[in-house]
Subunit: 113 residues, 2 copies
Amino acid sequence: MTYSSELIKGTLKTIVLKLLADNKKMYGYEITQKVKELTQDRIQITEGALYPTLHALEADKLVTTQTEYIGRRVRKYYSLSAAGKTVSKEKVSEMAAFMNTMALLLDLQPKTR
Amino acid sequence: MTYSSELIKGTLKTIVLKLLADNKKMYGYEITQKVKELTQDRIQITEGALYPTLHALEADKLVTTQTEYIGRRVRKYYSLSAAGKTVSKEKVSEMAAFMNTMALLLDLQPKTR
DNA sequence: TTTTATACATCGTTGTCTTATGTATCTTTG
DNA sequence: CAAAGATACATAAGACAACGATGTATAAAA
């Protein structure tokens, strides 16, 4: 089962930045698999969404890249820049605050209980 | 302070349905003010987003409307239909589940603590 | 009397994601 | 061994939601 994709909108960049903050370097396909695994298949990142996002992060200088070859196959690793680390933290805490507000609004038990 | 609006995307319908579940009948402007109040100005619903959403909910038969006049000014009240009540509950619990998953993914303290 | 608040509505633009498509290599399986 | 599936990148067309601007109109406050 997957969430109605509407909810996931706007969270992709945050997810990617957080994973990179935890893992030093990751490549695109690895990110999709990691998210699938961590969320027990509940969130599936499509490649059509991920790659443009990674390219945007790179254009914004939030990540740096390094290409490696596994046999003859290309693998493009992404790592957070200094700026990326800052933005990652900001995005994650913004998400946390937003979730608390939503919990309040939707009358769910708030985290501070 | 307002959240980077990206996060709010996809949650508007859920918010509206939840408010209507709690309040029997509300009109558009009232909804914008209620959300502002409940979230202490952290979430601001714009009219350009709200009215089309309300119209969509109506087209989907999730809400019924009734027009009233306050003096000479029109006010359009929205109420949940039976189907709307069901969908409201579904959307809210989907949102709750999604938030738990995101908390897990972002390594925030999960709600069950 | 002008500004602000209330109250509705639509429309063009933007941004994000989906779905589809394309290329290529490597591994597993019938 | 051939086909299918997994790994790995990428782009492009289209859908859809929300933003920001704009418009109309009434009521209240400054």
